[in-house]
Structures are given as C-alpha cells and as structure tokens.
C-alpha cells in the first residue's frame, strides 16, 4: 500500500487537531491555565454548525462567519464571569473549575439536544477525488484543512501586526512585566479566552460534516489538544499548528504500519518523550515553568 495515503490523510486530519491545539495553546500562553473545557467548547461549535445547517440552511463552512463571533463572545463572557476569578488560584483549582464548566456544558447539551447523535450530511460529506491514481483525498477534509491554514495565517498576522495582538504576546511572555507596561492583562485574558473558544468552536464546526455531533463528542479531542500544545510549546501558535499535523501523521502512520489500537499509546509516548527531552516543546522558548 502506498506510503502517501496515510501521509495525506494524516496531514489533513491533523489540520483540525491543529486548530483545537492552537486555541488551547493561546489560552495556556496568555493565562497560564489548562482548559479542560476545551473539548466541550468544540462540541458547542459542532452544534452551532449543525443548527445553522438544519435551521438556517447555511453550509457549515460558511456558517463559520456566524460561529466565530458567537463563540468569541461566549468565551469572553465565560472568562469574565468564571475563569477570571481563579486566575491567581492554584493550578488544580483552575483545572477543576474548567472541568466543572465542561460538565455543565456537556450535560446542558445532553438535556437540550438529547444524547442522540446528530449527523450533518452535506452533499460532499463522503466525496473524495483521486490523486496520482490511487490516493483518495476527502473533499470536506481538504476544505477544512485549507480553512485551518487561512485562519492560522490570519491569527499569526493578528498576533504579530496589531496592537492587541502584540499586547497578547507580551502578556504571554511575562504577565507582570506586561502589566507594568500598562497592558490591561485582565482584558487580554478575556480576549485570549475568547479567541481560544472561537478556535475550538471553529475546529468543531470544521469537523462536523465528517464526524458526528454529540454532547460528549468533544472529549476525544481534549487530550489530543493538550498533547499538541506541549509538542509545539505552550503558547506557540506555529508550534501548535505543526504539532497538530505531526499528531495527525503519527496516528495515520502507526495505524498503517503498526496497529490501530496502539496508535494512541504511541501519541502519548511521543508526548512524554518531548516532555522529557525538550520540555519547552518543539517551538517553545520558555523553560518548563
């Protein structure tokens, strides 16, 4: 079997992982918080995409125009109301707060939308084209990947060119110093969490046409997002992007050449190896603090 097939489907799937990872990495960097509700925020994006498709008849990829601002506001408010209050608390309290918020979101979704999975079927949900004769490329996955690239570029430009973006990066590098320099770090946290939420929801919406939508669907992506963050270096957008693709390729390769049931173990072993030998991540600058 061709080596290119797992490589290509790995890269394309990795794109969606990357987006989830970037959102988490940004929150990590700016706020120094591990967000265990990240998977549930992805789930939110899935349902938003589903309902804009079924109720408003908007294509899931186009509905991102609606989902991104809604999710940003949701995340911004969530930070203001909840997260903000534990920003100086111990890590484990922050983690448990996000665990609790995640439980509230997923179980509210369970009550509101029931546990029946929803399937978003577009005309292109299972369409593919062939490359070099025998390598199939999924159309929805390719579209998601291109949108991911576009969003990553926009985010990168935002962080490096705009005043708000630079303030976010400054906060990420050194919160105290940023505050002394007159940056409103509380506002930066809320913005970072808003962007993080928007990215998680976008990842959810992008995967919706090829996945199924369920109140607990985000959970499978949570640990992946963490792995990607650490792999790329906490707070590094480019790192998380590359990290996501690496994870996607590793998964595809290990299920092709080893066995599909061990692929998650391999991902975690790589994760531990990175922590052991390069704790700052592949692209990170800060030490293991």
């Amino acid at each position: 079997m061709s080596f290119l097939q797992p490589l290509i489907s790995g890269i394309l799937t990795g794109g969606v992982y990357a987006l989830a990872g970037i959102g988490m990495s940004l929150v990590f960097g700016v706020m120094n918080i591990s967000n265990f509700a990240h998977g549930d925020l992805m789930m939110l994006g899935m349902y938003l995409a589903f309902f804009s498709f079924t109720l408003l008849h908007i294509d899931p990829y186009i509905s991102l125009v609606l989902i991104i601002p809604i999710a940003f506001m949701f995340g911004y408010m969530m930070e203001k109301v909840f997260i903000n209050r534990v920003i100086h608390h111990p890590h484990q309290n922050q983690i448990l707060l996000t665990v609790g918020l995640g439980l509230i979101m997923s179980n509210t979704a369970l009550l509101a939308f029931t546990s029946d999975p929803k399937i978003l079927t577009t005309t292109y949900s299972s369409s593919a084209f062939n490359l070099f004769g025998d390598i199939s490329v999924s159309v929805p996955l390719l579209l998601s990947f291109l949108i991911t690239c576009l969003i990553t570029v926009i985010l990168y430009l935002f962080l490096s060119k705009t005043a708000t973006g630079m303030a976010l990066r400054a906060t990420s590098q050194n919160r105290e110093a940023a505050q002394l320099m007159g940056i409103n770090v509380a506002k930066m946290s809320a913005i970072a969490f808003g962007i993080g939420t928007a990215l998680a929801a976008t990842a959810g919406a992008l995967i919706a046409p090829t996945y199924y939508i369920h109140p607990l669907a985000g959970h499978s992506f949570l640990l992946k997002a963490f792995t990607i963050c650490v792999l790329g270096g906490l707070g590094s957008v480019v790192g998380a992007g590359v990290g996501g693709i690496i994870i996607g390729v590793v998964e595809a390769m290990s299920s092709t050449y080893l066995s599909s049931d061990w692929k998650d173990v391999i991902v975690f072993v790589i994760f531990l190896a990175v922590l052991l030998f390069r704790p700052q991540g592949l692209f990170g600058k800060k030490g293991g603090q």
């Binding site: 097939q5 029931t114 546990s115 029946d116 299972s126 692929k263």
Partner: protein
C-alpha cells in the same frame, strides 16, 4: 351451614391481610440514563415506559422505581441493593451495559430477587448458573452466527474484521472468528479501533488492500456512519458489509442511503418481523417519540411487560422466580422462554434477525421464516 360460616370467616381473615398488603406492585429498573451509553439508555427508557402504559391500560398497576447507573458497575450495584433492600421491589429489569449487568447478576442470588436483563450481550451473564438471573436478548455469539449463516450460501472465502475496542466489539469478533473457522473463511485483516476517532482511513485502507469478500464490522454508535463514509471515500467494496451492534441498526444510519445501502446487519428485533404486535409497537412508538424504535426499545418493552405481568400474578420474589422459569410468552419479541442450553441458564434462546438496508429501509432478509425480502449479494455501490 356452620362449615360455610367458618369458611367465610376464614376466607375473610385470610383476605384481610392480603387486602391490607395490596400495596402497589413494585418493580425496579436499572438503566444507563447518563454517561457514555445514555443514548441507548434513552431507547430502553422509552420502551419500558410504553410497556408500563400498556399494562396500565390492561388494569395492571405497578410502581416502577427507576435507577441510573451511569454505566458504572459500582453504581449499578448500589442501585440494585437500594431497590431490593430499601424499596422492597420483587423483581428488577436491567441493567443495560454488560459490565453493570455482570456485577449485578453476580449478586442476584445473594438477595434472591430476580433480575431480568433486557439487552446486555456478554455471554458470561447467563453462563454462571445464577438462579435469579434471566436474559431476554440473544448474547454476543449469536450476532456473528446469524450474520454468517445469512451469507453462507454465497460461499465467501475471506473475511476482515473492523471493530470497536470495547467489551461487545471484542467478544463479538472472538465468536465471529470461531464461526469463520467452521465455515472455512480465511481472516485477511483485523483492525480494532478506539471509539471517537475522526479518522479511520488508514485502517480501512489496510482492509481494502487485503481485498476481503466479507467485512465484519462492530460499532454501536454513530462511528458506524463515520466508518462507512470513509469506506466509500477510499473505495472499499467487499462482497458484503456485515454489521453487528446498534450502530448499523439505527434509523439515522439507514437514512444515509449513499453509504448505508445494502449493508447487512444483525438485530434482536425489527418492526417488519411477523411476531405478534411487532408492527403495531413500531407504529405506536414512532407516533409517541417521533423516531424509529431501536431493538433496545423493543427489548426493554418486552422485558418490562414479562416482568410486570408475571409479578402481578406472583407477589413474592420466590414465586416470581419460579413463574419466570416455568412460563412462556409470545409478544413483540417472538416466543420467549427462559431455558437452560449449551452452557446457558435461564437464557431466552432468541432468534436474531438479519436485515439489509434496501433503498433506505431496513428489510428483514434472514431467517427465511421471518422475512419477506431476499438478501442482495454481492454488495454494490
């Protein structure tokens, strides 16, 4: 005259405590209302609720005490013990998941309160000789048996397995391998997967490369849709897709005609089978819950009906156990009898059905005596 008087008094005396005790009949129901299996749990709840309503219409009053185990065996045990020691139920229906049913079943003889398992598939549950454990549905080995029997006539040569890394997935494939050996089928690929992954393309490409006649799939969630989508995408076309597990028996799956047409699946129940009241149950369920009944709903309906009807005539756990053991029923689940055979105890030797999706509808295609349509073989896109 005197004798008559005595007998009236004696009768009244005897009847009085009975009247005083005519507290409502109490039955327990342990189910996965929350947790990972909540979706299937909801189908069970719906089926059981309909059974209680139908019994009420027939004049049988029952107090049903519902307990959630969330899929956790520890909770299922707590629920069972609460039901039998505090609530004083005389019989329990449930739990849904095999893990929970296993733990509760192992304690049923200790408390001597009959347990009727409606839908858990693990074989062990009724293989330990427990006196108080009854099971309505067919266990895991029947899923693969009936599927392979359905295609036997077409003489397939090779088989590939793609299945969820869960108890049900692993057990079903183990028995499938035994059946395949008997049929002389050669195994060419074996892909176990973790549920919840978005990408199965690499596993499926391996299967495609092995070019099997049969692809045996076990999934009991929406991952069935994912797998079949990606199978289409990479162009996997065996002679037949054999699906075991609820994932291939949902209305949602059949509606995805582009990917699900001609997929063959094993099920405990269909609404077009000629069992008494099956079609009627299907219609009423659809009217009430605005969706197709899954086989789990039918299992729960029939288990609850059998339990309550039998309990209404036998007001102690001991009598109930004897009546369950001796009785036989005929309803939407076909003929039911709890028998001992082939290592099983108090197991209903249920005949599973094979259905195939033909133009967006599930059609029962095997065994012949229950079906109206014929199996389409080989599979084509």
């Amino acid at each position: 005259m005197k004798n008559k008087f005595v007998s009236i008094v004696a009768g009244a005396l005897l009847a009085f405590p009975l009247l005083a005790q005519a507290a409502p009949l109490k039955i327990g129901f342990i189910n996965s209302i929350t947790g990972k299996e909540a979706q299937i749990g909801e189908n069970l709840t719906n089926g059981a609720t309909m059974a209680i309503e139908d019994l009420k219409a027939k004049g049988i009053q029952v107090e049903l005490i519902k307990e959630d185990d969330g899929g956790d065996p520890k909770n299922a045990l707590a629920a069972y013990e609460k039901l039998v020691t505090r609530d004083g139920v005389i019989g329990v229906v449930g739990p849904y998941t095999s893990g929970c049913a296993n733990v509760v079943a192992s304690r049923a003889d200790q408390y001597q309160v009959p347990l009727l398992v409606p839908a858990a598939a693990k074989e062990e549950i009724t293989m330990k000789g427990y006196k108080n454990v009854f099971r309505l549905n067919a266990p895991a080995n029947v899923y693969s048996k009936v599927l392979m029997d359905a295609v036997k006539a077409y003489k397939p040569k090779t088989i590939a397995y793609v299945y969820a890394a869960t108890d049900f997935g692993v057990s079903t494939v183990k028995t499938a391998q035994e059946n395949a050996l008997k049929m002389g089928l050669r195994e060419v690929a074996n892909e176990k997967y973790q549920q919840g992954q978005p990408d199965y393309r690499s596993s499926l490409s391996k299967v495609k490369a092995a070019n099997p006649d049969l692809v045996f799939l076990v999934s009991y969630d929406a991952d069935a849709i994912l797998l079949m989508r990606q199978a289409k995408e990479i162009g996997l076309t065996p002679k037949a897709f054999l699906g075991a597990g609820a994932g291939y028996t949902t209305a949602q799956f059949s509606q995805q005609t582009e990917i699900s047409n001609l997929v063959v699946s094993a099920t405990q129940w269909t609404d077009d089978v000629n069992w008494t009241g099956a079609a009627d149950f299907g219609r009423r369920y659809k009217a009430k819950y605005a969706k197709e009944p899954s086989y789990h709903a039918a299992c729960a309906y029939e288990a609850m009906r059998i339990m309550v009807e039998t309990a209404s005539r036998n007001n102690t756990s001991a009598n109930l156990r004897a009546a369950l053991k001796a009785g036989s029923w005929n309803g939407i689940f076909g003929p039911v009898k709890f028998a001992s055979y082939g290592g099983f105890t108090n197991q209903n030797n249920h005949s599973m059905l094979v259905q195939q999706i033909q133009s967006g509808k599930y059609e029962t295609v095997y065994p012949a005596q229950f079906s109206k349509k014929k199996l389409v073989y080989p599979f084509k896109r």
